[in-house]
Point group: C2
Chain length 371, copies 2
């Protein structure tokens, strides 16, 4: 029989676009023995996860829980439940994840109107207002924090425009949640998904989602069944709701980890956590500037948790990244799409966002770039 040795991962500092470093108590929680997914103790823990998620998302939405898949499954969850074939949707596209939303929505049979901005810039309310003159969408969707470009789109005004036009407002908060203000109820967001491996600092594998009562009404009054059984909120609501009707088997251990991760967020306090992310971003930016390196996403809209750093002329982008990983055990990310080869993406998310890590990556870059 085949013999494969044990896998012992090297110790990396995760400063890419995610996963971020996981807090030791989260890993500890995940090493605890399993209980059944219908065990009363697990059910109680599911309830605590829902309560904590609502607090962190700043929402009172009953339907707030983690989908048993990664952030992309959360994106698909929102779209498959709300879209029926022929529905119109406006999607802001200023990076990988807006592009992905269009693909997913089209697979649901939606007629997609793309509102495009240059990668690295935001989607403006004016663009959305203009698009709303050309169609009557059921949903307006944007990405809050574009992980692929480092731009943070302000969404309150976009949400207002969407509702004025009678549409639901859908928001991707994969990278923003718990790293900067995300105010689901105040901003009147109807459908939101996030990921565990960014500012929540858990391993990837779950996608916290929340649907407003208005979104739930759309999902429960569909003419056609949701095309995904696995992601059908009509089935999931009975599993995560009071009835506890068996649907799928929840990823027990991932939920242990998420429970602990959410606890850490609340123990720190949301505002303190946002402030920590802001301060470390500013420190990184200052240090980069001293080396004559710039954050290239739109000024005034730069993410605290993901920094898109312009690669200087003549520097081997991939070579530096590889050396950081191999010689310094620091992972940073590459640019994607039109930004490939042009930026490095330095993540300061969750447990990774510390003064010490900022100093560590600055020092390593200084050595490698000779600046």
């Amino acid at each position: 029989m085949l013999k494969v040795p044990e896998f012992n991962p090297p110790k990396r500092l995760l400063m890419g676009p995610g996963p971020s470093d996981v807090a030791p108590t989260v890993l500890e929680a995940m090493s605890r023995p399993l209980i059944g997914h219908l065990d009363p103790e697990f059910v109680r823990m599911m309830d605590e996860i829902k309560v904590m998620l609502r607090e962190i998302m700043q929402t009172r939405n009953e339907m707030t829980f983690p989908v048993s898949g990664t952030g992309s499954a959360g994106m698909e969850f929102c779209l498959v439940n709300l879209i029926e074939p022929g529905d119109e949707i406006i999607i802001g596209v200023n990076g990988v994840f807006g592009t992905r939303m269009c693909d997913v929505a089209e697979r649901c049979g939606a007629k997609v109107t793309r509102v495009e901005s240059t990668w690295g810039t935001i989607i403006s309310p004016e663009q959305i207002a203009a698009a709303l003159k050309t169609c009557r969408p059921k949903i307006v969707a944007v990405v809050h924090a574009e992980t692929s470009t480092g731009a943070l789109t302000p969404v309150e005004e976009i949400s207002r425009l969407a509702h004025e036009a009678g549409a639901l407002f859908l928001l991707d908060t994969v990278t923003s949640l718990a790293g900067c203000p995300v105010l689901i109820d105040e901003w009147k967001v109807d459908a939101v998904y996030s990921g565990t491996q960014k500012c929540l600092s858990c391993p990837p594998g779950l996608s916290p989602v929340s649907l407003s009562p208005a979104a739930m009404k759309v999902a429960t009054n569909r003419k056609k069944k949701v095309q995904s059984w696995y992601l059908d909120v009509n089935l999931l609501s009975s599993y995560w709701g009071q009835e506890r009707v068996y649907h799928h088997t929840a990823p027990i251990t991932m939920n242990y980890g998420l429970h602990e991760g959410l606890r850490l967020v609340l123990n720190e306090g949301l505002e303190a956590r946002w402030k920590r992310h802001e301060e470390n971003h500013l420190a990184l930016k200052k240090g980069l500037a001293e080396m004559d390196l710039q954050i290239v996403s739109q000024a005034g809209h730069q993410l605290w948790q993901l920094n898109a750093v312009g690669v200087p002329e003549g520097v081997d982008e991939a070579g530096i990244r590889k050396k950081l990983l191999m010689d310094y055990n620091i992972e940073i990310g590459a640019g994607l799409g039109p930004l490939k080869g042009k930026i490095w993406r330095i993540g300061l998310m969750g447990a990774t966002s510390t003064t010490q890590n900022v100093e560590t990556v600055l020092k390593a870059l200084k050595q490698l770039l000779g600046r």
Copy 2:
């Protein structure tokens, strides 16, 4: 801010329909620090997972990897990739999971022909042969080990009939894989999915799948895009294949656990593992008979890893189960659908399948039933 205490799960013996007890080294593997999902070391580990899965599934299929969701996501993966609207499919229905397959297939737009057997009995080749006279299916699908009833359907002859009719053969091995013989290539299975939380004894959260070259041809030559972006094998094959094109972020920690779980299977040896499952099933059956309790699924086709025990007349099914959990910390499962209240489901899967556990559950039942 909300304060929630740490979650410390009680220590249960997991003898239900899954999850089963997880081996300590799997939990240990999952407590290791994260690395990035595109880290060369993670990529190397992904390759090892694929190689080990092929060995355990007894297949040479290149497209063999874990889907980033639970077993039900694996079911949906197989169906969404192979079905286009209007396609015909024959599905064997003798429990919850055959029923679920019909629901998923219909959501893909399939015309489903159900071949039904009483819950607890198998699907026979004669039934499939009869159904094949009424339609021209693209796929014939059955559940190998019906977790809801404890019946094991022999599939070689069904596979032969399917291929003779020009159809692909699809098999659910969620509960069978690594607990009894599962010979994907020898049985000419074209599409197969499993789960990690049964006889592989890992936490739930991943679904090992495999597609034959014939199934891959169907999936890659579709007229219409796969309706699920998250589960589209055309995208996943570039992520899990040689190119490593970013798709979603793989659940790193779950894959650490699976890697270790697969290692344990291969270290024990497939045949030794099957034999262990058989022996512990027989020991349980003998002990149950001594208490005048019977396994009620079809004689000659009873699963080794999941035992459907008839609840004696006048006994409070749910009460006994609750006492086992609360007073003995032993989890067993309830009956579902037509078997609700009529059976207990005692799992002997993976790490749970030991002589000691058989004795423990027999002793507890003896005390509770006064037999």
